[in-house]
């Protein structure tokens, strides 16, 4: 009797999560519907107008989709050399030594810093550096936001990839050494190929994070509603346009913002699902 009640309670509370999730998706769809209906789904995706003149409102998501994709892609590219080095440093070359433990702890610490702090640091330290290097006059822009994003995802990617590097069986490495391989050859020809799918999947999950990162990007990207024409120009990402304009928007503009949110949600969900699936497969094999 008691057992049954317990089960029902458990089931009910477990049900809340999918219900909330379904509710969010439902609300996003219904609120975005107006924009999609007004402009047409494809038109909304491919238009780069963003003007709220009364009577002739034009909203399109393309500038923000490109802003998001550009910052994410650049961030991943900047992050690759550093995260790979840290991962191999802590996972293989200096594995188990004090210095690797220290480095590991520091990277974990970096992962826990709130994004507003990264944003502030980027704004007051990185931006002036970019200005003084004459890379861009205003300092903010796609490049600045990407560098900061890269710094934010490095700890995440490197600790995850380092796990996969550590998972390569000792037997396998010793087998390669016993054939006369050097350290570098073992890393390149055994560890990297064996841990490769796991390392790759940690980058996919990092993409998922970078896509939706809001605070840092909003503070650094320059907040202009155009398609960035170079990596130094300003723009807006999907997350940053919502954060910027949500408070003042209503009606069609609000619906357009929610539509952008829906698209961001779908892209991120798909990327995360792919990443999780790849991680699972890499762990099994």
């Amino acid at each position: 009797m008691n057992d049954k009640l317990y089960k029902i309670l458990l089931f009910a509370s477990a049900l809340i999560i999918p219900l909330v999730c379904g509710g969010v998706i439902y609300a996003l769809f219904t609120d975005a519907y107006e924009a999609f209906q007004h402009f047409g789904f494809l038109k909304f995706l491919t238009s780069s107008d963003w003007s709220y003149t009364q009577g002739d409102e034009q909203y399109g998501a393309l500038p923000f989709i490109s802003g998001t994709l550009m910052t994410t892609l650049l961030a991943i590219i900047f992050c690759i050399p550093f995260s790979l080095s840290v991962a191999f440093f802590t996972g293989e070359y200096f594995r188990g030594t004090k210095i690797a433990t220290v480095l590991g702890t520091v990277t974990d610490l970096l992962a826990g810093i709130p994004s507003i702090i990264y944003g502030l640091w980027g704004f007051y330290t990185l931006r002036p550096i970019i200005m003084s290097l004459n890379i861009s006059p205003q300092g903010s822009g796609v490049l600045t936001a990407s560098v900061m994003l890269a710094i934010m995802i490095i700890p995440y990617v490197s600790s995850l990839s380092s796990e996969f590097i550590k998972m390569v069986p000792k037997d396998l490495k010793e087998g390669a050494y016993s054939l006369g391989a050097t350290r570098a050859e073992v890393v390149r020809k055994i560890i990297f190929p064996v841990a490769g799918s796991g390392i790759f999947s940690s980058y996919v999950l990092a993409i998922g994070r970078a896509l939706g990162e809001t605070m840092t990007v909003t503070m650094l990207i320059g907040n202009t509603n155009n398609i960035p024409d170079s990596i130094t120009s300003t723009g807006n990402s999907m997350a940053s346009i919502i954060a910027n304009q949500f408070g003042e928007a209503s009606d069609l503009r609000l619906s357009s913002l929610i539509a952008i949110g829906l698209i961001l949600f779908l892209i991120t969900a798909i990327i995360n699902m792919i990443g999780k699936m790849m991680i699972k497969r890499a762990r099994i094999s």
């Binding site: 037997d171 396998l172 010793e174 050494y177 016993s178 054939l179 006369g180 391989a181 050859e185 020809k189």
Partner: protein
């Protein structure tokens, strides 16, 4: 001249994992060319440790120290380049370790690719066929050479690992309980193979299986608590062991 110098000789070889204790204590023994020598002894007596010293596996771990001498054809390997030594002294481990990202074909050639040695296609084919034939795996896998080595059975994988070691034409082959993870049929297969192989390569094999030592080895070492308690002809050691510790181990009084 060459026949007088033993192919491999341990001279007062000591190995310690920590500063306080020695896992292998002053082992001196000369291994005869083209024989199979078995290393026996209770668990934890230092068999694997001694074996791994002979191809400088301990060099991979900074805390482990190896002292004394280990001579390969009269030359002390402890002062040689590990890479050189390991190409001349191959090793097969307890658990088969085919490289999972490589095909059967590439696994056999992995010693070359890992060392950045490029072979012409023709020579590759010849090497793969020769090595797989010498471990009598060729007939079983010749049609699936491009499949991953990890698809093979345990016994086949172990033979693949032996083939991989043989491809480098080593002088000595070290084997650490190579059949303990295999079933009796696969074990018998490998034993027959080793008897055949000793014509080309000197084999040093750690085994817990006394029957196996009797069947394949002509010389045997018995280790106890890191020391070499007895070393001699296998038949003599089994029929009339001279050391008390060997005697009680062989008669089952000691685990």
């Amino acid at each position: 001249m060459e026949s007088i110098i033993p192919i491999l000789e341990f001279k007062k070889t000591c190995v310690s994992y920590t500063k306080q204790t020695m896992a292998v204590k002053y082992v001196s023994a000369a291994i005869e060319r083209n024989t199979i020598t078995a290393i026996m002894g209770p668990s934890g007596c230092g068999k694997s440790t001694l074996l791994r010293a002979a191809n400088l596996m301990h060099n991979l771990y900074p805390n482990i120290t190896v002292t004394g001498e280990i001579l390969l054809n009269g030359e002390n390997i402890l002062s040689m380049e590990p890479i050189e030594v390991r190409r001349k002294i191959g090793m097969v481990f307890q658990r088969p370790t085919p490289f999972p990202t490589m095909s059967i074909y590439d696994n056999v050639l992995s010693g070359f690719t890992l060392n950045g040695i490029r072979l012409p296609k023709e020579e590759k084919d010849i090497t793969v066929e020769r090595c797989l034939k010498s471990v009598s795996l060729w007939d079983e896998v010749k049609d699936v050479l491009n499949k991953k080595g990890t698809f093979l059975s345990g016994g086949q994988q172990q033979r693949l690992c032996i083939a991989r070691a043989l491809a480098m034409k080593p002088n000595v082959l070290l084997m650490d309980e190579p059949t303990s993870a295999l079933d009796p049929v696969a074990t018998k297969h490998i034993e027959e193979l080793l008897l055949e192989l000793q014509k080309e390569v000197t084999i040093l094999i750690v085994t817990h299986n006394m029957g196996q030592a009797m069947r394949i080895s002509s010389r045997s070492m018995f280790m106890y608590l890191g020391e070499l308690a007895e070393y001699g002809d296998t038949a003599t050691m089994f029929s009339s062991p001279s050391d008390e510790r060997t005697k009680s181990y062989l008669t089952g009084k000691m685990g």
